[in-house]
């Protein structure tokens, strides 16, 4: 099955979001959000809690269906054609998405089978090595520390060689050692992948970003397609986000 993109031009944007809206019952969680992320780009998405950032991310990840508007990843529409999008996208969220009663190896093996990887064993070994967890491959995930869980989660997310990585507050709750590994990994793979990162961490977000956006009340209130200085950005943030909501 062809897991490649529908369009292969290097100039075409990797993620295209147009007029995206999401309604939960009576609540408008996302209203008319539009942005594009070029291939190899890094969008850092900031905003207060409840602004709709995670909802947008989950829609791009095909976990939620949009109520209006369109979202395309590498040319595939997330509503009409979700499976190719799922092959291209990896998600790292604050929940590691790992099964506690299985070993590290069994977890990765499960996901490798679900993604239909041909070089399963090799890929698992390669990634365990990259996140420095080879020595724990046969240990139950239940015994892992939070930092180790996040590292294994990164291995899980990269297993199927996704082109797009979606990060939902990946640094939350991590100890400095784990943060270090995560950051160095992100720096390593920065060039080959397209990113969207939702975070509260201004510094980390701005460090890697090629685009910066702020959401508030379901809308995109600020969007700049270039890296922004941290001090300046703090002021920009305060300016655009409503106080005390």
């Amino acid at each position: 099955m062809d897991a490649g993109p529908a369009q292969d031009s290097a100039a075409a944007p990797e993620i295209v979001v147009e007029g995206l809206g999401k309604v939960f019952g009576r609540r408008d969680a996302v209203r008319d959000v539009s942005f594009t992320v070029e291939r190899g780009g890094f969008l850092a998405l900031f905003g207060p809690n409840g602004a709709g950032k995670t909802t947008v991310l989950r829609i791009v990840a095909t976990l939620l269906a949009p109520s209006s508007g369109t979202v395309r990843v590498a040319g595939h529409d997330v509503s009409d054609d979700p499976d190719p999008v799922r092959r291209l996208v990896g998600l790292i969220s604050h929940s590691p998405l790992l099964y506690r009663d299985l070993t590290a190896y069994e977890n990765l093996r499960f996901y490798a089978d679900m993604y239909g990887l041909d070089d399963r064993e090799q890929r698992i070994a390669e990634l365990l090595d990259r996140v420095e967890l080879t020595h724990r491959r046969y240990d139950l995930v239940r015994t892992f520390s939070k930092g180790m869980l996040q590292r294994l989660a990164i291995a899980r997310a990269l297993l199927h060689r996704p082109r797009v990585l979606l990060l939902d507050e990946p640094h939350s709750g991590l100890d400095p050692h784990a943060v270090g590994i995560l950051d160095s990994l992100l720096a390593e793979i920065r060039a080959e992948h397209t990113f969207v990162m939702v975070t509260h961490h201004l510094g980390k977000g701005l460090e890697l970003a090629s685009q910066v956006a702020i959401m508030d009340g379901g809308r995109l209130v600020f969007h700049q397609a270039a890296a922004v200085d941290e001090r300046h950005f703090a002021a920009v943030y305060r300016e655009h986000v409503r106080e005390g909501v």
């Binding site: 990840a61 998405l97 996901y111 089978d113 679900m114 993604y115």
Partner: protein, 231 residues
């Protein structure tokens, strides 16, 4: 099912069975429940010395299995829900119906194992005659009824796991729906144990069970995308 689908099915089934064998939480609970239920039945019915429970055997057995199955069905998605892994599963490029069949198969395996262990115990407690000759018939009833219980139960468990009431909701929606199956399975089983298992009695019930299974398998197939997705 395509080769990819079969691989995914096996991966899902392997995951659930491995997890359960490691903790054995569900299997042990279901087995203990079944044996305890029979003890309770004995004391509930032994009002007089000379009571012949032959015609109650089917009922006791299936009440035990249905409530025991509920214990297991409630846990169909326990790993995904409690450990927040449902996203991980839904992110995979897997046909949602494959997930249904894998979960249903896992439930079938667990229910089957429990039945294998408890039917002999039950026979020792309550059945006065040897029924080796009718074992095939009994197995047919068990298999057909289990299919229905697990098909409907897995579908409903998928819905109920996403509600606030979770464990409480499943029995409320499952029990009324399973009544037809219960009626057919109970009367068939009683006929077998009470030695009134003539062709006339058994075939219509087996056919009914098969029809029931077919109906709910088709309904699950058609609606599972809606049941498991977040919309």
């Amino acid at each position: 099912m395509s080769a990819v689908g079969r691989r995914q099915f096996r991966a899902l089934l392997r995951k659930d069975v491995t997890s359960e064998l490691r903790t054995k939480e569900m299997l042990v609970s279901m087995f203990l429940f079944a044996v305890l239920a029979m003890v309770v039945f004995h004391y509930a019915f032994s009002v007089r010395r000379d009571v012949d429970l032959t015609f109650f055997t089917g009922g006791m057995l299936w009440v035990t299995f249905i409530f025991g199955a509920l214990l297991g069905l409630n846990r169909s998605f326990v790993h995904e829900k409690d450990e927040g892994c449902l996203d991980g599963l839904l992110l995979c490029p897997v046909d949602r119906v494959t997930i249904f069949f894998a979960k249903m198969a896992a439930n079938l395996v667990f229910l089957g194992v429990i039945q294998l262990l408890t039917v002999p115990v039950f026979s020792v407690f309550f059945v006065t005659r040897g029924y080796w000759g009718d074992l095939g018939a009994l197995l047919a009833v068990l298999v057909l009824a289990d299919l229905g219980i697990c098909a409907l139960g897995t579908l409903l468990a998928t819905i109920s796991m996403n509600t606030r009431a979770r464990d409480l909701l499943l029995p409320i929606v499952f029990l009324p729906l399973i009544v037809p199956l219960l009626v057919a399975a109970t009367s068939a089983t009683t006929a077998i144990f009470a030695q009134t298992a003539t062709g006339d009695a058994l075939w219509p019930r087996l056919a009914f069970l098969a029809g029931y299974d077919a109906v709910f398998l088709v309904v699950a197939w058609g609606t599972y995308d809606f049941a498991i997705g977040e919309g």
